[in-house]
Symmetry: C2
Subunit: 109 residues, 2 copies
Amino acid sequence: MEQVKGVVKHIVLAKFKEGVTEEEIEKHIKDYATLLNHIEHMKSFHWGTDVSIENLHQGFTHIFEITFETLDGRSAYVAHPAHVDFGTAFLTILEKIVVVDFVPTLVKQ
Amino acid sequence: MEQVKGVVKHIVLAKFKEGVTEEEIEKHIKDYATLLNHIEHMKSFHWGTDVSIENLHQGFTHIFEITFETLDGRSAYVAHPAHVDFGTAFLTILEKIVVVDFVPTLVKQ
């Protein structure tokens, strides 16, 4: 097993409150992605909607994955005013959220 | 915004039951990774433990990320007997789990 060098993955699962519109969700996703322009520590931003088939999504509908090169970069992102502002607004439209970070170990065939 | 071609991400968050030992967890992670040898649709297997600092991990301690080239490959993996056997055993030691799949859209700086 081999550690993937220089990658920290930050994963956010979101379930929106009932009544939150598609337009509101789209605006927040755009604001989320716009953090890339403000926080240099963000190396990539991926997002998508849940298409799982095992019925274990627990109501989560949206997934966001941000990568950083270092845990320090991740910490700088978390503390960055642009992230704090975004996060504060984002939380107001969420019913629930999970945020996990990990330094991936890659297992190959 | 640009779709990442040919990638389906499958993310599993796990919280183990109280009393489950580190050895049991390690054995299950090894068994999980060994699916790579049985299911050709799995293109990569990454895992790690939560190191987040925002206190939004909701008790989840382990993260697994598997990639597939297509949703059909993902579905074949879900239905594969080796996965079903692993999943059945894995669930017995879990307090909770979230499984989401998504076709990532990449947003660049």
